[in-house]
């Protein structure tokens, strides 16, 4: 058990020497490895914070000074406490409602209980949640289209030449250009009395999807097209059916390239999402930034800066998650994953 755990943990570069140091194995050398693995990145962050602090205090805007690290810390605490108070309010609201309903039921057994939703404004944490749901659903739909398409055009040189110009033209298009079109199409097509999800959500999601399709399509196609002739010969000699050929040979061979594409797509999706939410007014991080900008209080810049850092951290976390997924799915565990 402890060995398995040690092995798992040792994949993190600085944990292995730390475990060894704790176990008392060559302590001084391991400690210096730890100091290097943790210390140097930490020093980099510290230097960055110092430069940020120095630069921020000398930038004056109409909303006060540019937020430095300290302001951001204060604002992030405020945002979290706002979230907690809002949750408490909501809980209190539901409790009052339950008590009221219970009383009315006691008075009149025929009373049909109505439950009303709490209508407070979404907190920062809610907005992060909305953004994540939007980006993941857009990315998921894009992947479901892009992977099969990439495989099909990768298998045929002619199809590849046919699709390539279209892909190359749409690939560099900014989300801002798509958004008005998507908005109009969604309002025309997505008409329902009781919509399952908000229009702004659908608009943002489709914009994200349109922008993050391409890297996966291209990389999957290249991965499929560069399968070695030897493996294709094996498949021919075995007379594998098309489906078996794809399942047993094409897919595993293309997985590393496919994941390169998927990771590019996901990072594009996350970047695009913020812009899309600003304009489509989807209640996520993008709208948060926009609202704070419009709000223009002395705290606004600090709160936007919190959002900037949150966006960066989540983008980083999403990429790491894709990497973990690749490690789980790919047969080639020895390949260097970056």
């Amino acid at each position: 058990m402890s060995i398995a755990l040690t092995q798992t943990l040792s994949k993190i570069s600085w944990l292995e020497p730390m475990i060894k140091a704790v176990q008392g194995e060559n302590r001084s050398q391991n400690l210096s490895i730890i100091a290097k693995a943790i210390g140097i990145p930490l020093a980099g962050i510290l230097v960055f914070l110092m430069i940020w602090h120095a630069a921020a205090s000398s930038i004056n805007t109409s909303l006060g000074k540019f937020p430095g690290p300290a302001d951001v810390l204060i604002q992030s605490k405020t945002l979290i406490s706002e979230h907690i108070t809002e949750r408490e309010k909501a809980a209190a609201f539901y409790q009052r409602q339950d008590e009221r309903n219970a009383r009315r039921l006691a008075q009149d057994p025929d009373y049909v209980v109505k439950i009303r939703d709490y209508t407070g404004k979404p907190t920062y944490v809610d907005q992060i949640g909305t953004s994540l749901i939007t980006v993941l659903s857009g990315f998921l739909i894009a992947s479901m289209i892009a992977i099969p398409l990439g495989i099909v055009i990768g298998l045929s040189a002619n199809l590849y030449s046919a699709f390539n110009p279209v892909i190359q033209i749409f690939k560099p298009v900014s989300p801002l250009a798509w958004l008005p079109l998507v908005t109009m199409v969604v309002s025309a097509v997505y008409v329902s009395d009781d919509p399952l999800v908000a229009k702004s959500f659908v608009t943002s999601m489709i914009t994200v999807m349109l922008c993050c399709l391409w890297p996966t399509v291209i990389n999957t196609a290249v991965g499929v097209a560069s399968i070695s002739q030897d493996l294709k010969n094996v498949s021919q000699v075995l007379r594998l059916s098309w489906l078996t050929h794809v399942r047993k040979i094409v897919l595993p061979a293309a997985i590393p390239m496919m994941f390169t594409g998927l990771r590019l797509s996901l990072s594009i999706a996350w970047m695009v999402l913020i812009a899309a939410e600003m304009l489509a007014q989807n209640p996520g991080l993008g709208k948060f930034v926009w609202d704070e900008f419009q709000n223009g209080s002395s705290n606004s810049l600090g709160r936007i800066m919190v959002a900037v850092i949150t966006i960066g951290l989540i983008g980083f976390a999403l990429d790491r998650m894709m990497l973990l997924l690749q490690r789980m799915v790919s047969w080639d565990k020895s390949a260097t994953l970056r």
Binding site: A157, Y160, I218, S228, D230, L231, Q236, V237, L238
Partner: protein
């Protein structure tokens, strides 16, 4: 007795950017059941092209190949191929690589348990039982080639085609595998066509050695019957005058009659100089991901390049 496999007036012409290139012409060969044939010749003489035509991976432009009275025009498991560079699927274990072939060939003919026993039996034949659940990157080059042979044998082919099966191995491993192959051959008595560069290997393993002339427009130069009783032992044969005589005959064909002079080399190169360089690049970048544009080059053009390279 009718021959099992018959090549009649086989010729092939590739169309290249610089006009057509004739690789083979008038190849006539009859192979009986249970015969072990080696194809030997200089690089670029079209040995691999002959093998690929029999395998069905290339289509002859003239003449044809008949196996058991049926014309060959596409690849199939009854003509299993052992590839030069093993060509195992790197994401499958040795067992799974053989399993893929067995499932494909014996679907509906063998039960699950029978298939399992058959896969294990074939891995045992090549002495790979101890490592059958390892993936190709976890075993040595010789072991990979053993698995490649097991995969081909497991298809129960009518003809076993081997494209320089031991070419990429070191001398000791190669000798070891040759002995293994002779043991297997004693048991199964397969019909085999093997391409080789190695004169000793050809004399040691074959019933007949087919010597090919230099390309372009290569054809069969001489056929040498090897009349040495089996089982053959490489140590005893080393002092055997008959063995040395056969060896001498092959060597004299290769180095006197079909001597690869600088003149003939430049002639061969000038017919397709551009291809020669591409071949080299292809060879080197093969394992790595090729860029999109290059990766799109397949079909006859690419196959021709591959053929030229390996032949």
């Amino acid at each position: 007795m009718n021959p099992l496999l018959e090549l009649t007036q086989v010729g092939i012409e590739f169309s290249t950017a610089k006009g057509s290139f004739r690789a083979l012409q008038n190849v006539d060969l009859k192979i009986n059941k249970g015969e072990y044939i080696s194809l030997i010749g200089h690089s670029g003489c079209g040995k691999s092209t002959v093998l690929n035509i029999v395998a069905g991976l290339l289509q002859a432009t003239e003449g044809g190949v008949v196996l058991k009275g049926k014309e060959v025009n596409e690849p199939g498991p009854e003509r299993a191929v052992v590839f030069q560079n093993h060509s195992l699927l790197p994401w499958l274990s040795a067992y799974e690589n053989v399993e893929l072939a067995v499932k494909q060939v014996f679907r509906g003919k063998k039960s699950k348990a029978e298939m399992k026993a058959w896969i294990e039996h074939n891995l045992e034949l090549v002495h790979m039982t101890h490592a059958m659940h390892k993936r190709p990157d976890e075993i040595s080059g010789g072991m990979k080639q053993r698995v490649g042979i097991a995969r081909a044998l497991a298809m129960e082919p009518q003809v076993l085609l081997m494209d320089e099966p031991f070419g990429a191995l070191d001398a000791l491993t190669r000798a070891h595998l040759q002995d293994s192959l002779m043991d297997i051959q004693k048991e199964l008595n397969n019909t085999v066509i093997m391409i080789t560069h190695d004169v000793d290997e050809a004399v040691l393993l074959s019933d007949r050695i087919v010597m090919m002339t230099n390309g372009p427009a290569a054809t069969i130069g001489e056929i040498l019957d090897i009349d040495l009783e089996r089982p053959r032992n490489r140590l005893q044969l080393a002092d055997d005058p008959r063995y040395n005589h056969y060896r001498h005959q092959v060597l004299s064909f290769l180095y006197e009659k079909q001597r690869k002079t600088d003149d003939s080399q430049t002639a061969a190169q000038s017919s397709a100089p551009a291809e020669q360089t591409t071949i080299k690049e292809n060879n080197e970048t093969r394992a790595i991901n090729t860029p999109a544009g290059q990766a799109d080059v397949h079909g006859p053009e690419q196959e021709k390049l591959n053929t030229l390279k390996t032949a």
